[in-house]
């Protein structure tokens, strides 16, 4: 698939950048990837996303698009083969609804918990479990949000598959409850086994170490 001047500014550990990389890969779109040092952002990043100065940013034909879910919709509309969003408007609405739910509820709960200790950690884990249980209802018993194959919502939500398991390990809490959330647990396995998603997930040890480091830094900040 011709690149047509496609470039992605990203960061290896960002679930939001992972969304965009998954979408580009699922569509077989060639692109240039630029890894950003978030402590020393490139002039290109600052110029392309002046409002937030964040990754991911997609550059296409000299224009820049920011905000991962906005980028996903853009990719789906420009490169129409292997569609991410379903055709039916009601199913499209459901995909968008769950992607938004994850950003509003699951992201803060999962990320917020990383810096917590003691009772706050228990509370954080409980809240995250509640949101994950709600997320499970979105699967409606199916193997993935796209129905029979990975789609928009799976791409938007897929990073939870690796992050939740690593967070359980690193913080020694329970997030994915096999008994209580069998459908979500099965979805996690399905996503982690998908060849495209599997190839893009950052390595376990790297993420684990990154999370431990981040946790230590955040705890130190809070206690000072």
């Amino acid at each position: 698939m011709a690149g047509e001047g496609v470039k992605l500014l990203g960061y290896w550990g960002s679930p939001f950048a992972l969304r965009v990389r998954s979408a580009l890969k699922l569509k077989g779109i060639e692109y240039e990837y630029q890894e950003e040092d978030l402590g020393n952002k490139s002039p290109l990043l600052l110029q392309s996303n002046p409002v937030y100065k964040k990754i991911p940013v997609l550059l296409h034909n000299g224009k820049s698009i920011s905000e991962s879910l906005v980028i996903l919709e853009y990719i789906d509309e420009v490169w129409k083969h292997n569609p991410l969003l379903p055709e039916d408007p009601y199913e499209r609405a459901r995909s968008r609804f769950w992607a938004k739910f994850v950003d509003e509820k699951c992201v803060p709960a999962l990320v917020g918990t990383i810096s917590k200790v003691g009772e706050e950690l228990e509370k954080g884990a409980r809240e995250a479990r509640e949101h994950l249980k709600t997320l499970e209802s979105g699967l409606d018993g199916k193997r993935c949000f796209g129905g029979t194959k990975i789609g928009f919502a799976d791409v938007a939500i897929g990073w939870i598959a690796y992050l939740a398991r690593i967070e359980q390990e690193a913080l020694k809490i329970q997030l994915i409850d096999q008994q209580n959330m069998p459908v979500l647990a099965a979805w996690i396995d399905y996503v982690l086994e998908d060849p495209v998603m599997k190839e893009l997930m950052p390595p376990h040890d790297k993420v684990f170490k990154h999370m431990i480091d981040m946790r230590e830094k955040l705890i130190a900040v809070v206690s000072n």
Partner: protein
């Protein structure tokens, strides 16, 4: 389109509900508005939006759709004839969606902070942030409208509906704070746009008058204070 086929669970003061009303009006879709008592949520609301238990919920046939921006996309896709709410070009669509997310996630909380500010110092600081945001939106408007009257160009579009439905609350905020939020010396283009939006036929009768919203806010504050007092 049979009126009973499309239902909207809503509450008049909600800008999110207003968005859906304007979108349906723009598309000339008949619908039944079912007002909701948010203090005592109906079975229908709880069943139709079990995740958030909030308005708006659009019920089309027997399928419920929640989240105002998701609903507006749905309306644009199901009733795909003119007028289109989202622009035709994918980059323009991305730009509209980007600003819609900015408005909901970043700018409107700033307005809320301003309205709720208790002392002059925090009010001034909050106002400064609101104006900074409005400057960005002014630029976005100039770029988007390409010399025409609306974010959507000649006609009202998605981003007009997203921002426009906050205008009631912006006006209410001006009454409460005594500050001019939409100021022609600061954001002249947006002031002109606000005028055109509010007087558009599709918006007629949808957004409550600012005085009504001020009363509503005071009522809510009293109810919250009473709930606080009774739970102590």
């Amino acid at each position: 389109m049979a009126a009973s086929d499309v239902k909207l669970l809503g509450a008049r003061p909600s800008p999110f509900v207003n968005r859906v009303q304007v979108a349906l009006n723009l598309k000339s879709i008949d619908y039944e508005f079912i007002p909701q008592n948010l203090a005592e949520k109906s079975e229908l609301l709880l069943k139709s939006n079990p995740v958030h238990k909030k308005v708006p919920v659009l019920i089309h046939g027997d399928q419920p759709i929640s989240e105002s921006l998701v609903i507006v996309h749905y309306v644009d896709e199901v009733w795909s004839g003119p007028p289109s709410l989202l622009p035709a070009d994918p980059y323009d669509r991305a730009t509209a969606r980007f600003w819609a997310a900015y408005i909901d996630e970043k700018w409107s909380p700033l307005v809320r902070n301003l309205i709720n500010a208790t002392d002059e110092q925090s009010k001034a600081a909050a106002a400064e942030k609101v104006f900074e945001g409005l400057k960005l939106l002014e630029d976005a408007f100039v770029n988007s409208s390409k010399g025409k009257g609306f974010f959507g160009g000649e006609k009202l579009g998605f981003l007009d509906v997203v921002l426009g439905c906050y205008l009631g609350w912006v006006r209410a905020g001006e009454i409460i704070t005594g500050l001019k939020i939409l100021d022609e010396t600061k954001t002249a283009a947006l002031v002109g746009w606000a005028e055109r939006f509010t007087s558009n036929k599709a918006v007629d009768g949808v957004i409550p008058e600012p005085e009504e919203l001020v009363s509503f806010m005071k009522m809510q504050a009293r109810a919250a204070a009473a709930a606080d007092a009774s739970s102590k």
